[in-house]
Structure formats: C-alpha cells, structure tokens
C-alpha cells in the first residue's frame, strides 16, 4: 500500500559522504581546539576533506531532484520541524563553514588560527547535524522500518564520526603523515567512535525487534551482518585495538570502516525499496 520515494544510489552516496564530511569536520574542530600543535595536521586534513565532500553532497542532492533547477525552492522556505527543510539549509551553511575553515587552515598567524578555532566551534554543530539528520529524515517518514527506528539518527551520527575519522586517518597515511602522536590520536578517537557505533547499533536493533527484519534477514542480511557488523565494525575495531604498532593495519582498519559506513547507508536505504 505504501509508496517508496525512489531514493536510490545518489542518496546512499549523499548519506555516506555527508556523514564523512560532518565527522571529519567535527573531529578537526575538536583536534584544533583541544589538541597540541602537532594535532593541527589532523585539523587541516579534516577541514580540507569536508569542503570538497560537502560540495559533492550538494551536487548529488540537486541532481537527484525531479526538477533540479528548482532546488532554490527549498531555501525560499523554512520549516523548523521538517528534516528535509532544515537539512537543505544546513548543507548550505555547513558548506560555508568548511570553506572558511579550509582557507584559514593555511594561515600562519596565531590570531587567524585563533579565529579559525572559534569559527570551528560553531561549524562543528553543523557537522554533527549533517552526520545525523539524514537518519532522522528517514525515521520521520511513513515507511516501515525507517519510521519505526528511533535511533536511526544516532546511528548515522556515530557512523559519520567513525567514517569521518577513518577518512582523515586514510588521507594522513596516503600523504605520509601517519607517524607520531597525531596519527595515534586519530586512531584512538576512531576507536571510541566505533565503540559508540556498536553500542548504538545494538540498541537500534534491540529497540526495533522484528521491525529490523528488512536488514537482519533475507536478501540484505549477508551484507548487513558480514559487511557492516563483521568486516565494517568488529574486524576494524580489533585491528585498531591490537594492531596499533603496525601502521598498515591502521590503514586496513580505516578502509574497512569506510566500507562498513557505506554498507550501512546502502542496506538501510535500499532494503525496503528493493
């Protein structure tokens, strides 16, 4: 009886990349504000990563509209209770923060760095929002499973944190910055995020009960249990915990977290529409 919205791969990619953008930014903001001078490598990678990602998010969102040239209609209107409406605004505002923070990440003046840290404390809130609101958007619809899950936003947010941190770690590795204290700290932060994500995922499934069947049984079950829970959470957490001496294992862990984050969005979005 119910009608599916036909949100498919571009929305899965948007949820995934938006989570990374938000997660990378708030991680950068925290590292920038409470970390040492050496942690500024993390902050700079986080800011510079979130900027292109949020730009891609905007393109994905606009291209997925039925009438893309009318995307501004969402900005001409505001509904404070409507995730789609606030979300459209937040993507735009967050984009502006990532731009300013990225530009300021190149400054060598301490007063400008101070300004960047202040700005990032506000931008961080939009980063958290972008990582989590997509789940709330799904959980406030009439669709089964989506509409039944009270923790979809919390789960997407934790996953945005873990994938954002994994993406930062991956880029640090690829650009030869995977040494020393900053690398160790991003690994530890990612470990905490994975633990939070596992906790939220367990509560998510527990609260849903039988309503979680679209992902826990049937066609998507193998991808969910094997791809997300196994390869995307348990394995990278073990690698992170016991392989911290070997940098290559940190790399594998980061890649697995990213793949798991994509699988999460994929099974959630596609399972009831497939």
């Amino acid at each position: 009886m119910l009608k599916m919205p036909g949100w498919e791969m571009s929305i899965v990619w948007y949820f995934f990349l938006g989570g990374i953008a938000g997660g990378a930014y708030f991680t950068a903001a925290i590292a920038d504000n409470v970390g040492s001078r050496r942690d500024q490598a993390v902050a700079r990678v986080g800011y510079l990563l979130s900027l292109p990602l949020v730009a891609v998010c905007g393109v994905l969102l606009i291209a997925d509209l039925g009438v893309p040239k009318r995307f501004m209609n969402m900005i001409l209107h505001f509904k404070f209770w409507d995730p789609m409406s606030i979300g459209a605004w937040a993507v735009g505002i967050f984009g502006a923060f990532t731009f300013v923070s990225s530009v300021l990440s190149f400054t060598s003046s301490e007063s400008m760095a101070q300004l960047r840290r202040r700005i990032s404390l506000v931008g961080m809130l939009f980063g958290f929002f972008l990582a989590g609101y997509t789940g709330i958007l799904l959980s406030n619809s009439a669709m089964p499973f989506w509409g039944d899950s009270r923790l979809m936003g919390a789960l997407f947010l934790a996953s945005g944190g873990s994938t954002g941190m994994a993406a930062v770690a991956l880029i640090m590795f690829l650009t030869g910055r995977s040494v020393g204290e900053a690398w160790h700290k991003i690994e530890v932060a990612d470990r905490y995020s994975m633990l939070v994500e596992m906790l939220v995922l367990a509560l998510f499934l527990g609260l849903l009960g039988a309503a979680a069947q679209p992902i826990t049984t049937g066609h998507f079950a193998r991808l969910f249990w094997g791809g997300l829970v196994g390869a995307g959470l348990i394995v990278p957490l073990l690698l992170n915990l016991f392989g911290s001496r070997v940098r290559a294992l940190g790399l594998v862990s980061a890649v697995l977290v990213l793949v798991g984050g994509f699988i999460l969005r994929y099974v959630v979005v596609m399972s009831i529409q497939g």
């Binding site: 009886m1 409470v34 009318r70 969402m74 936003g153 919390a154 633990l195």
Partner: protein, 258 residues
C-alpha cells in the same frame, strides 16, 4: 477559512463501475497507463502519478453478515488529512492547504524531492517522471473553486461518492452506519470521519463494511513527523558520546602543549 469541504465515500453503495476513476482521468487529463493484472477486476494495483481515484475490488472470506465471502468494493482516493504527513514533509511549500481544508500540490513549486511520497501513510502521493514533480488528487481544486463538486462525485451513479460540507456529510454518514447495522452489517464503520481521531480526521472519509485492515487501510495511521524531537534527542546523545571520545583522544594531558 471557508467551511471545510469533504468527500464521503460510502463503500456499501459502490457497484464497481469505475465511472469515478474515468471521470477523474478525463477531467484532470491524466493520460493512459499500461493495464496491470492484479488477479481481480481491479486496475491499477495502486495509486499512480496518473491514477488519483482507484476502485479497489476486495474478496474477503467471512465478511458477509451470514459468514459468506464478501466481495467488497471501495473507491479509494487521497484522504486530504487534517494533519497531512505530505504537507508537513514538503520543504518547498509546494504542498498547501486550501481555504476549504483540502491538500494540494502546487506543480510550479514542487522540485521533486519525494519526501512527501515517503511521508504519506496511505501510499497516495506519487512521483511523475515526466514532470519531475509529485502528483496526487487535487480534490478537483479548479472545480470546487468554481462551484462544482469533484469530477468523481459528479460521475458516481449510486451516490457512493458524496461531496459537500464536512459537518453535514459526517452527520449523514453516522445515520447510514446505524441503518446498515440494523440491516445486519455488524462491522459497518466510518473511517476518518472523527475529527478527534487519527490524523485529525480525513476530509475524504469512508464508510467501510469490514475492518480497515480488510481494505488494506492502516487501523491507526500516525503523523510521520511525530518523533522528530525524540529522535533528535537520541542523536544529540550520540553526538555527545562521539564528541567526548574525540575530546579524550585529542586533549593534552598536562603536557603544556598548544
């Protein structure tokens, strides 16, 4: 606001002629679609972007007063909910409530995000690939603003679909339920007539001869946006946990850094 208008679909009077479905297609110039084999006379299986009125043909074992199989007919339509999920979901303001209480989609404003499709508890709103916009019954917005009833109600030969002021139709509907019960239709009931009931009442409400579930209607449909606050609080909790984790990882432990 003008006095609320409504459509009352009395399924006990429906003969399954589909004049409503055809009149709707013609007046609204909805165009042709491939027929679908549903296993019954029903066509199409669901509402589409080109089918706003749909006569459902339902075979329900044991639903007749004497326990026999009942062949139930129901001309289904957008419910024009008093608390409309589609309207609350629409981020562009394209979906609006008219002065008569009906819910309409402004086709010049809709940008095709499809959140309304996911937010309709009845599977009514449909996406049109050609226009790139969401489509549904307009309650014949052009007709009611020119003193005419909706095309479906006008075409109905048995008055199964009645159009009028909501309060008058509800009174009439209640009398009709009593009459049917007296005739032995013990499950005769109204669906969506109560403005204190689910979704604040439906401006297109129904008289059913069996339980809503028999007609594939939800027993107690809810506003899809009712959990925004709770879900947001849980997300804030998650944000605090993740944020504190990052804080613990990055903070300087008395090393005098930064």
């Amino acid at each position: 606001m003008a006095r609320t208008l409504a459509m009352f679909t009395d399924t006990s009077l429906c003969i399954g002629c589909r004049a409503c479905q055809v009149a709707c297609k013609q007046w609204n110039e909805l165009g042709l679609e491939e027929p679908e084999w549903t296993g019954t006379y029903q066509n199409h299986a669901h509402f589409t972007d080109k089918t706003f009125r749909l006569v459902r043909f339902i075979e329900a074992p044991g639903a007749k007063p004497n326990g026999d199989l009942a062949w139930l007919l129901m001309s289904d339509v957008c419910k024009h909910c008093a608390q409309a999920g589609c309207l609350d979901a629409c981020p562009t303001g394209a979906i609006y409530r008219t002065e008569y209480g009906t819910v309409n989609i402004n086709q010049d404003v809709c940008n095709g995000c499809r959140y309304c499709v996911a937010s309709c508890p009845f599977g009514v709103v449909s996406f049109n690939e050609q226009t790139g916009t969401a489509k549904k019954c307009t309650f014949c917005n052009d007709r009611i603003h020119n003193g005419l009833g909706p095309a479906c109600a006008k075409a109905c030969p048995t008055d199964s679909i009645q159009f009028g002021f909501r309060d008058e139709l509800v009174a009439k509907a209640n009398q009709r339920v009593e009459a049917l019960k007296a005739m032995g239709f013990k499950d005769a009931q109204l669906y969506g007539a109560d403005s204190n009931g689910f979704l604040g009442g439906l401006n297109a409400f129904f008289l059913l001869l069996a339980k809503p579930a028999t007609y594939n209607l939800p027993e107690n449909p809810q506003r899809p946006q009712r959990n925004v606050v709770v879900d947001s609080l849980f997300s804030i909790g998650s944000a605090i946990l993740v944020g504190v984790g990052a804080l613990l990882a990055f903070r300087e432990r008395g090393k005098g850094g930064a």
